[in-house]
Structures are given as C-alpha cells and as structure tokens.
Symmetry: C2
Subunit: 328 residues, 2 copies
DNA sequence: CTGCATTGTGTAACCGGTTACATAGAACAT
DNA sequence: ATGTTCTATGTAACCGGTTACACAATGCAG
C-alpha cells in the first residue's frame, strides 16, 4: 500500500505539504504543488479514508437502515439515497433490519463504530435509547417522529385516496387488507382508508395480515377470497399483495375490473407489468430516498438547524384494475 | 465519545490491559478482567472500529458491487451475502455499478480506501487494471473468470434447459429473447438456448434487447409480438421480460399456455405471482450470495489457497405458462 | 532600513485503537 | 538458594492521515 509518506519522499517534501495539496488548504507553492501532483500520479496514490476518518472523527459514510431490500419498495429508496449521497461524495453502509430490534441495534452499533457521519433509518423504534443517545445527524425515511426530521409520504391521505377511489368507482362491498400492525406506514394507510369507508354508504370488511413477504402473499389472497367471496373492491396493503390478489381473482374466474376492482399501494415497478396492470397509490420512492439523503447532508453541514420534515405527495395511478369513471 | 482511555482510567489500568480483555489475548488477571468489564459496562463503551482497522490494515467490511439492486434478482444475492457475512461478524459496503465502468471504478476505490478485507463483485470487467492491481481477496458473483474464484449458475445449461423444455412441450415456432450483449450471463444463456434450438426440428427467431429495465420491458414485449405474431413459444431473457410478455400476450387475447408458452429466467419472487404463474429457470440467488460470502471469508482466512469456484445448479420451475407434458 | 503581514514548508502531536517490549512478582525445578 | 518459566501489567511505538505551531523567506508600508 502506498502511503502519504511514500508520496512525500518521492516528491522530496514533508507529509504535511502533501496533505495540504490533497486537501487544498494552507499555503503551497506552485512549483511544489506540481511536484506533489506528479508524485501522486506516478505512485498511483489514493489516501486512506480510514486514517483520515480517525483524525476527523467522521468518515464519508452514511448508514442506511432499511427493513428488507428484498421487498421491491426499498431498493428504490436505497437507490435514491445512494445516488444523492454519491453526488456529494458520500457512500452508503447498508443494513437490513427485517423489522427486528436486535438486528437494528447491531447495525446502529456498526454504523457508529465505523464513524458514519449520519444515518438514514426506516425504523419504528426511534424512541429507543439506542437512538436517543446517538449524537449523529439522523433522518427518518418512510417513517415519522416528532424528534427527528423525516421524509415520508402521507399514508393517511394515501389510504383515504384509495378508499375514495374505490367508492367513487362504484364498489359496494369493499375489503380492506390491513398490513402488519407493527409497521407504522401500514397502519397509517389502513386508518386513512377506514376513515373514508366508515363515512360512506358501503359495506366493508377488514382482513388482517401479518407480513409483506412474497411467499405469503398468495396465501393472504386465497384466504381473502375464502372469507369474503362476495367482495367487489379490494384495497390491498401493498402492491405485492395487490398483485397476488389479481392472480387469485383471475384463477377464480373473476372479471377485473367489472366484477372486482383492486387497488394497490406503493407503485412498485412491477405493478405496471401485471395483467391487468394494477391501479395503485404511488409513493415516490426514489425521490423520497433522494430527499432524505439531501436533508441529511444538509444537516451534516449545519447540525444546529432546527429540523424540517418533508411530506411527499401520494398520487393515484389509474391503471386497469379499477373501472373507468363509474359516477354514481 | 467514550474511548479506551476513559475505560482504562475508570478501571485504573492501562489501555493495553483494556485492549487485552477486549480481544481476549495476552494475560489478564481474573480480578483485573472483572474491573475492566464493569468499567466497559458502566461507560457503555464500544471500541472504535476505525482505529482498530487502521492499525490492523483491515476492517470488518466487505465490499459488494452489484449492477443494480432495483432489479429484483440482485436484492436476493445481496441478502445472501449480507446474512452470511453478518454471521461471521462482517458488514457490507454496497455499490450499484449500473454496469458502468466509471461507477465501478469509483466504488472499488472507495472500498480500498475504507480498508475492506475483501470484495464480492458482479462485474464484466475483471480484466481491467483496477482489479489486477488489487491485492484483496476477491470473489466473483453471477460472473466468471479464470483468474478469480466465482460463484455462478450455469447459464449455458440454463439456456439449454429452457429450450429443451419448450421443445419437449411441443412449441413449434420459438422466439428467443436475447438479453443485453454486454452482460455475460445473458449471453451464456442465449448461447445455450441457441445450441439446442439449432439442433431441433423447430423454427426459431431471435429478438435482441438492450436492457433489463422495468420501464422498457413492456416495450420489448410489444415489439416482440409485432415482429413475431405467430410465435407459440418464447424464451424470455429474464423473468421481468417474461412477466411483461405474459401481460402483452393476455392483452392480445392469447391463451397461455395452450396457444403460447413462455419461459422466464431467474425465478425472482414475483414470478409466482403473475397469472398464469411463470414457468422459469431458477437460479438460487440467495444461496449464491451466501456461498460467495462464505468463499470470500474462507479466503480472508487463508489467502494463499488455490482458488475454487462454485457452479450452482439451475433448475426448471414448472408453473403454468408451459403445458403439462405434451410428449410428441 | 525596520517592522509587520503574507507565503511556504517542516516537525511533531494527535485521532483511538493494537502490540512489541520491558519489567516484576510468583511458581516451579534443580 | 538460584535460575527459569509463567503470569500480569504498563510504556511507548505504530497504523496513515490532519493540523497546530514554529520558523524562514519574501513583500510591502512607513
């Protein structure tokens, strides 16, 4: 490994001078600068980030904690933060918590041990000691809290929008699929939907599910049709179960959207690929990730700043699992 | 931040002693050990990984370079390596190359700057200087090379298997979708399929595509049916375009699998969710990631070892876009 | 010509760990 | 009793950077 000392020796200057040209601070003579530059070139030197980080007490790393990148909603968030972070010279240390506190704490410890300069986390547990005692810039992503800045989409509004849409399009017996109770955004959108359904002139039932896992999505769908065979409008807890429901409905010979309307949540990329393509409530995932990184980097610059949260708009993406306007 | 010095002071011993109890090496008296342990507890101390890494010239980080975690095949690889790495106390620094050499080189630099102890990479460019001059344990994932150990699935065999299956099930006019030319595994499976199709008594045509992106998948599908409306068997370049093809076929009123059979590649989780569920060639992605991490960690232990590659089996997953055996 | 500010460069302390080496007491062998 | 080995602990060098500080040369004002 070629170190700053090698460069210094090669250029016949001190390490301090090399460091100064690297960081472009302090005084360096034009002549000297050139010598150093060539030495760096010739030795193909690149500074050790670890050493720098030790002295500076801060790396160029950002910790990113997500529930599970295997769920197609999250890779988009991740790319958003990664791309924006990269644009500012930061890199991402990624952790999947699987919504498990143990893992979450482990990762946070790792982040701290590696001197990350900030953290972005999609957690339901900001109120734990672990976070409280952290004195790092921190931004919540896809989650909210009164104590930290956050970037999130309005789940309640999303839930309302889904329910309103279904009602407006003439669904009479709505089934609302409720996501896992320990996942905050899932309950937000559930509540939003219930608010609207409760006020409207429709029958509705709720089916609870306990996970978003692919493997179980088809089971939820099957269970749903067993319990509520007469339903003519389904609000899925997310696009995955939405797509699973399309599958199951088609299997049972239901006509979509004439007999049965379905509306998903998230607008993951594959929801336009289903047939019929899934109507859904879009969360701008990539953009959310990007904004979170932006916010974090801003706070790394001025940590004192009072915190600002960003609520992103949700949006109805009308595809073909809902009817063309069926005004009452 | 609480450092080893604070602990030492608090326990009235030297930093060396604290370090010795932390690492469980050297001699430490029972009494002293206890004192140190309590001090650690009381101060809630956890050692700074950066400092350790500097001295040891090696962190507990592994660099993982993937094309794009937004493509659902890769998150599974990523989880495989992450989980296995975690089991051995390693963490993952993730980079998305987008199959772009610039980005790839940037990430590699970041990895070495951060003293990663090893790298796992899905690259088509192992032969570049960047890699040659690297003296880190390195394993290829989902790619091959004669110079490095690799974990990959047999693409040629997968292509053959897909073609054989379609032929055996009675397809007469096969369309083979060829993936991007610069992605190695894509051309392997293409070649495998061509081998079999060339020998068989069927007509076949090839349609070239230049990306795996979601946004374009439907366009490829549309183009395919325009160019080859009479096809009765399609080998998709991966499951995403497979699913897009199902969509387009259904839209055009084709009966699947009676009129048209489709076979995908990868077995991403969502391919069982399509309707009809997609028959596909499975690559054991999670397991591949896991094995790659395993292999890498092994090599970190004994770097001299001559390198072993692991070829994982591909497997036909018969779902409902192919017919129940239609023996000739 | 003198004094002060500006420019250029080097020396060494520092970041927070690990470990080689020194030192000393205890245990054991002869 | 003495030498040797084992156990226990501390001191200080080291990892590869950054930067405070010291010092010298130069420029410029008065």
């Amino acid at each position: 490994m070629v170190t700053i000392k090698d460069v210094a020796k090669h250029a016949r200057v001190s390490v301090a001078t090399v460091s100064r040209v690297l960081n472009n601070n302090g005084y360096v003579g034009a002549e000297t600068r050139k010598k150093v530059m060539t030495a760096i070139e010739e030795l193909n030197y690149s500074p050790n980030e670890v050493a720098r980080s030790l002295y500076k007490r801060g790396s160029r790393l950002i910790g990113l904690l997500l529930p599970d990148i295997t769920n197609p909603f999250f890779p988009q968030l991740a790319r958003g933060v990664e791309d924006e972070a990269g644009r500012h010279g930061f890199r991402v240390l990624l952790g999947n918590s699987d919504e498990d506190i143990e893992k979450e704490m482990d990762y946070i410890q790792t982040f701290v041990q590696n001197n990350v300069v900030g953290m972005i986390t999609a957690t339901n547990h900001v109120d734990y000691d672990m976070y409280q005692s952290l004195d790092l810039p921190l931004v919540l992503l896809d989650r909210t809290s009164s104590s930290y800045p956050a970037v999130y989409a309005d789940g309640r509004e999303g839930g309302r929008l889904a329910a309103e849409t279904l009602i407006k399009k003439g669904a009479q017996r709505v089934t609302l699929v409720k996501g896992p109770a320990h996942v905050k955004p899932a309950v937000d959108r559930y509540r939003g939907a219930v608010e609207v359904l409760g006020e409207a002139d429709v029958d509705f039932s709720v089916m609870s599910t306990t996970s978003y896992a692919f493997e179980e999505a088809l089971n939820w769908a099957e269970e749903l049709f067993k319990k509520f065979p007469e339903t003519d409008g389904i609000i899925a807890s997310n696009d995955i179960v939405g797509i699973a429901i399309i599958h199951e409905a088609l299997k049972r010979g239901k006509n979509i959207p004439e007999e049965l309307q379905i509306i998903g949540y998230d607008d993951i990329p594959q929801s336009r690929l289903s047939y019929p393509p899934l109507t859904t409530i879009r969360q701008p995932a990539y953009e959310m990730g990007r904004r979170a990184a932006e916010l974090l980097i801003q706070r790394i610059g001025q940590p004192q700043q009072e915190h600002r949260s960003i609520q992103m708009p949700v949006e109805l993406i009308e595809r073909h699992t809902t009817r063309k306007d069926d005004q009452e």
